[in-house]
Amino acid sequence: MKNNRRSFIKLAGLAAAGLCVAPKATLASGGGHSPVKAGPKAEHAKRWAMVIDTRKVHTEEDIKVLQHACHSVHNVPDIPTKQNIKWLWSAPYEECFPEQQNPHLDDDVKGRSYMLLCNHCENPPCVRVCPTKATFKRPDGIVVMDYHRCIGCRYCMAACPYGSRSFNFGEPRDYLDLTKLNTDFPTRMRGVVEKCNFCVERLAKGLQPACVEASDGAIVFGDLADKDSEVRKVLRENFTIRRKPTAGTEPSVYYII
């Protein structure tokens, strides 16, 4: 009798534990889900890619315009310290392509500023290291963040070979003009990592990324898997390079030199 009761309690306990764990285990085995829902006019692609014509956008002023377009639509704060946040910014040749240095570059290429942003790699190290799947790669190749799942461990920042990620060390809203917020896109909270999202929220509405729209044709955006797409055409006709090819990440951002 005593034994029966004991085994019953044991069984009941096990069953209760299983019931508690099962839904979590099912959830855990699933990947992260994109918070952006595609609309009826949404743009679709197998692998989104960007080609930047550095012959056309090559001054700091050019890139400032693109940065403003990007940062205002995504509510990116302008923090004047080295704990700053950048989705899109400019850098000279030697900072953009430190592994492809050449002491006698022509003055034109050497003098240009280059636009930097997340490369949306085919093999993103940031996704590989994230311990919570807060950063993940969508089926269309875009690497995005779930700001509500991120624990702020910054492992992705150590892993990114391109320095594309920023961390909200403090409260980002302190550095935003709250009267000029884009209310269609969330601001972030402190303690999470963020970066360029290839404007997934705009693609879902059938719009081109903000920087592409502001670039006046100097940046081409499209499906790399479609051989008739404009990006493929531009890539066929021009010499392009990518940042740090030796890292094996296969960036989706190409630069026409």
């Binding site: 979590k24 959830l27 855990a28 992260g32 310290t81 080295k82 704990q83 700053n84 946040i85 950048k86 850098a91 030697e94 900072e95 953009c96 430190p98 592994e99 190290p125 590989r128 290291v129 994230c130 311990p131 919570t132 799947k133 807060a134 799942r149 991120c150 624990i151 702020g152 461990c153 910054r154 492992y155 920042m157 150590a158 892993a159 990114c160 070979p161 391109y162 320095g163 990620r165 920023s166 961390f167 909200n168 060390f169 403090g170 409260e171 909270m189 402190r190 303690g191 999470v192 990592v193 740090k244 890292a247 094996g248 990440t249």
Partner: protein, 423 residues
């Protein structure tokens, strides 16, 4: 057994009180960090990990180091270590807890930290690091507590604990390997991107960890009746000397590979650390201190005459700990992030608040060590194991050839003075 931690001398309570003051002061700063974010630290967009993660890395070494006492005893039946084992295990418990706390204080959103368990991600090394640290903490709690409890009630250790002890010995190597994997698998960080990093981590752990343990045990000898067997000390010191030599050998392998290959990515971090680039020389003095101290500690530990000199030993160990700490607790992190992915330099130095929070974690660790060592030494005293004899030997020394008690006391006096000066 915990009640033994509640009965202590005024000196014991003063020490506990001192630690609690530091913990409270650090906790206030930590609350400030929780309210305003990690902007109170010296970290930046380019150097996104700093002092916290560096201390975590260093302390994983301390956690793993207890195995250098446990392994000879269980795998080689090295008897002199018998009454030292518990201290290795208890030190590992404190070190594991400090490691976890350093991760927690480094998180931007600590209240979400359980996401690592709710959304387990086996491709992330951080997930595995959490797993091995929790595992190692549990194993040491289990083995340490069960063995001490059985000692206390004068029973032999139960047979079922043996497999757990063997697992914990193997596990010790895994915690530092996985911690090295955190770093060495990142494609853009050349200073970390080296297959020897895990081996170097283990080598530096097995010298710095036992060194810290020996120093703490030397203090323990001053404040309790516990006395380490001479042979156990001599063996541990030998292990420290070998491990430090291997550690520096691995470092030289790094230097050779970087400079003979002439690969810029591999050379730049070392050049930045040891001679400075782009007008930045922040760490040059530190890194050469590391080299100088490493050489001095080896010079004091390799010749048997100097190594077995118990008056010199604490100094050699302190110098060794400083050297390895600069290497692993400072240079490793800053050299990994500099040069940045843009081949530029962003200097980093911990802020005062960052150091206060770190002091809190270290004080919590010291508190745990104090309480656990108090319990362990109380039990040893009750059983008369490994106790100080009037001649200065340990009751476990079977080759004690000391003369009469008076002579030994006369000899003991200067040694005590030297040790007090160290403390």
């Amino acid at each position: 057994m915990l009640e033994r931690a509640l009965k202590g001398s005024p000196r014991y309570w003063a020490w506990i009180g001192f630690l609690l003051v530091i913990i409270c002061a650090g906790a206030l700063v930590w609350i400030n960090q929780l309210t305003v974010g990690l902007k109170i630290t010296g970290m930046s967009r380019d150097v996104s990990w700093g002092f916290y993660i560096a201390q975590f890395t260093y302390l994983v070494g301390l956690a793993a180091s207890g195995v250098m006492i446990v392994l000879p005893y269980y795998f080689h039946h090295y008897k002199p270590n018998k009454h030292m084992v518990i201290f290795g295990e208890f030190m590992a418990i404190a070190a594991c807890i400090m490691c976890m706390l350093f991760i927690v204080v480094d998180l931007g959103q600590p209240q979400r930290m359980l996401n690592v368990m709710f959304h387990p991600t086996p491709n992330s090394i951080l997930f595995w690091d959490m797993t091995v640290l929790i595992g190692y903490l549990s194993l040491n709690l289990l083995c340490g507590w069960v063995c001490l409890e059985h000692d206390r009630i004068r029973l032999p250790h139960p047979k079922w604990i043996k497999p757990f002890i063997i697992i914990s010995i193997v596990w010790a190597f895994s915690i530092h390997t996985v911690t090295a994997f955190l770093y060495q698998g990142l494609p853009g960080r050349h200073y970390w991107l080296t297959a020897i990093l895990a081996a170097r981590f283990l080598a530096s752990a097995f010298c710095s960890g036992p060194a810290i343990l020996l120093l703490v045990l030397k203090v323990t000898e001053k404040v309790t009746t516990f006395r380490m067997p001479k042979r156990a000390v001599a063996t541990l010191t030998k292990i420290i000397a070998y491990a430090m030599a291997v550690n520096m050998f691995f470092f030289l392998l790094e230097v050779f590979t970087s400079f003979y290959s002439n690969l810029p990515g591999h050379m730049h971090p070392l050049v930045y650390l040891f001679s400075g680039v782009h007008g930045h020389h922040e760490l040059v003095a530190w890194m050469w201190t590391f080299i100088a101290f490493a050489v001095i500690s080896l010079a004091m530990l390799i010749p048997p005459k100097l190594r077995d000199n118990q008056k010199l030993l604490p100094w050699a160990l302190v110098i060794l700990v400083i050297a390895t700490w600069i290497d692993k607790g400072l240079g490793l992190l800053i050299g990994g992030f500099n040069p940045t992915p843009f081949d530029t330099i962003t200097p980093y130095w911990p802020s005062g608040k960052e150091l206060m929070v770190s002091a809190m974690v270290y004080a919590i660790g010291a508190l745990i060590v104090t309480v656990l060592f108090k319990i362990a030494t109380d039990v040893k005293q009750e059983l008369g194991n490994s106790q100080a004899l009037p001649c200065g030997c340990s009751s476990e020394d079977d080759d004690c050839d000391c003369g009469t008690a008076e002579e030994a006391e006369a000899e003991e006096a200067p040694a005590a003075d030297a040790a007090e000066a160290t403390a």
